[in-house]
Amino acid sequence: MQALLSFDQAPPLDAPLRFFLTAPLFAVFAGLLLLWGGPDIFASRWTPDALALTHLITAGFMLQAMLGALFQLLPVVAGANMPRPRLVAGIVHALLTAGTLLLVVGFLRFESQWFRLAVLFLGAGTGLFIAAAAGALRGIPSASPTIRGLKLSLAGLAVTVGFGLLLAASLGWAFDLPLARLTDIHLGWGLVAWGCALLAAVGYVVVPMFQLTPSYPLWFGRAFSFAAPAVAFAWTLAELLEWQILGTVLAALVVLTAAGFAGITLHLQWRSKRARLDVTQVYWRVAMVSALVAAALWLAAMLLPALAEWPGWPLLFAVLLLHGGFMSVIVGMFYKIVPFLVWLHLQNAGRGRLMAPNMKKVLAEKSMEGQMRAHFATLALLVAAVIWPAWLIYPAGFALVLANAWLLRNLFSALGVYRDHLARIAALEVPGEGGPTGGM
């Protein structure tokens, strides 16, 4: 009840924004790593450079964006307020950013002390976030699939981070653990029980509401939030107990669960009542198609030994799912969330004396469209670079830098509009200026 009384306490703008403005920087670093590492980076998924690259995208870009979005979404969607959001966001952000950089340096230099430090920082940062979010959600009934999905995805994050910390610790302190097996479990939980589950929890609300589509089928909302962690859990058991065949069957179920979400989402978006496809909707649709292709590739690799032997397929899978799927959806959502938050905070600051600029004035459609084209060109180049690394790794790396520098510029331009407008509001408040301060 206490939480409900204060559900207007939307966090300050800088709580989510500090994460959103950091995420593209990590993707720029990922592009620079491609340029620096060259074609060898795509030799196998297990090269230290490939591991560094993956974590620049997953922990650097995706996790930053997802945690930032949760600071905003938990109060609005679930009425779950964190205590002192600005302070918690600041600490989580600093620990996560430092921890990710330490982890990446750890992979690149392969020295134990970096992994030890990374364990410390990432463990503290994500631990603090999970504790704060779980505390905010405690006592809030799971009245909708979204609220239940948020809770279960948070558990998925905890498991993902737990296995990740175990892996990094075993590199830092030279534990004797089955690293390849644990890595698969870590990424299975990260991609499905955390990533896809969070996306689904948010998607139940934002797809129908903002894209004016029919709702997700009721059975799907109920079934998916349980199915994702349940199959991931069963699969993990089979993997740990080394039941090979059952493990593969359950892994296929995990992949099909995620593909089911992408398929249903695409089907709903097909029936959108919006007059035209805007940048966010195009981003969503390409993301869902890319995720479906990734799932098909995974299943094909399980069935076709010739494909399974090609060391490039896991890299292709990662490019399709991480860049084509998750990154696309995240950028698409930035383009709705950031202009809206800027408008909302300006509207509250102006209190009717000065009208806030509407979303299209905060961030122009044209800038978003240009950036989106660069993002999709990057996706095409990355896919091609997996097949012909010697030729295309450099253009792909350059494109990744460009698309994300452009994203950063777009987000900063929205922040610039915010600051300029705040200054205009402040100018109205100077006494004795004779401005239209008195009236409404």
Binding site: L5, F7, D8, V77, L212, F340, M355, N358, K360
Partner: protein
């Protein structure tokens, strides 16, 4: 029988449909149809606000004693949406497509995040606290919301 959450959420969806009609027409450059559809949307939303502000919120505040709680936040957001609707209507009257798209987009997100709070938090609270009044309250809300009803319409 309807509860408050179902009944009021259904009205949100009806408003969404008319909003989409106006957007379709504006995108096609059919200003007359867009203005007519937006006019119906505007009126439907104002009736919805009216029903909440004159019936539902006072009943909730009376029963729970929470006057500065969620209903106060909702009233504040209604003020913001009234401004955005006026702005969008003015843009349509001026046949200014760009200004309309910008304010309509902002209105849509404002409206949907507002609906989210009502449907996930406030309406379930109303159903819980006003359980003995639901039977008489829903028909009165219905009368207020239907076209031609309501004090302000």
């Amino acid at each position: 029988m309807h509860n408050i959450r179902e009944f009021m959420s259904d009205d949100h969806r009806r408003c969404d449909d008319v909003f989409a009609e106006a957007e379709q027409a504006a995108a096609a450059g059919d200003w007359a149809t867009a203005q007519a559809a937006f006019g119906r949307f505007h009126a439907a939303v104002l009736r919805h606000f009216g029903a909440e502000e004159s019936l539902l919120f006072p009943a909730f505040e009376e029963k729970t004693g929470m006057r500065m709680g969620p209903t106060q936040v909702m009233r504040g957001e209604h003020v913001q949406m009234r401004e955005l609707m006026d702005e969008a209507a003015a843009a349509l009257a001026a046949h200014d497509g760009e200004r309309y798209t910008g304010s309509a987009e902002t209105l849509l997100i404002m409206m949907q995040q507002h609906n989210m709070k009502e449907e996930n938090v406030l309406y379930p609270m109303c159903d819980q606290h006003l359980v003995e009044y639901v039977e008489s309250l829903v028909p009165r809300l219905q009368a207020e919301i239907s076209p031609g009803g309501g004090a302000g319409a």
